[in-house]
Subunit: 128 residues, 2 copies
């Protein structure tokens, strides 16, 4: 199949399929005589795997590794689990930081009347 069909069936855009090939997350696709990328059912599975990983927030570097583990019969589930746990830890840290900001923002917002006057505690606190 061509790239358009692969895109539809995997949920990955054509742009991204080409990009992932370029940055070597995915091996280079074979080409037809006219230079069109040619894909198989196996490629659909790979790009679906990639998409699900992406939806879980894994970076492309991590996904490259995940795919490599997936394709490697000598992997251990420990390797996979550690990768996922590392990602989870990083995610937790990001969430905590954002929750801190959320808390501070809420405090700021609550301190402001939000009326027609110019006096504004939000601006005052940003100016310190």
């Amino acid at each position: 199949m061509n790239i358009g069909e692969l895109a539809k069936r995997s949920g990955v855009t054509e742009k991204m399929i080409r990009h992932y090939e370029e940055i070597a997350v995915i091996p280079k696709a074979k080409r037809s005589s006219a230079g069109y990328r040619v894909y198989t059912e196996n490629d659909v599975a790979i790009f679906q795997f990639l998409k699900r990983s992406r939806d879980l927030g894994f970076s492309m570097a991590e996904i490259k590794e995940l795919i490599s583990l997936w394709r490697n019969p000598r992997r251990t589930s420990e390797q996979v689990k550690k990768l996922a746990q590392k990602h989870l830890e990083e995610l937790k840290i990001k969430i905590e930081k954002m929750q801190m900001i959320e808390k501070n923002l809420k405090t700021l917002i609550h301190s402001c009347h939000g009326d027609h006057r110019s006096e504004c505690p939000i601006l005052e606190k940003l100016a310190h």
Copy 2:
């Protein structure tokens, strides 16, 4: 003062000070005869304001608007509050999405033994 001192006193790097000038978040600085950017105490206050806003996750476009409101005596606190609330709403949505991912990741990870064997529910679920 020169850009180095402003950077130290505001907590914004020299690189970023130049960049914010370039993208017009901040008006162009005056120059000395040799072409050096020259700043005043007022600029320190502006860049400290910018830094605090940045630390609260506001985008540069939003900060540009915040600074404009801050400098405008005819602003209303309602304008400022609305800007902050919009940012808070977007932040909440991001946090929720990340928490969803966190939940899914945790489930995946719990399903995996993480031992020496190759069988791995994480990879299986990513492959569907």
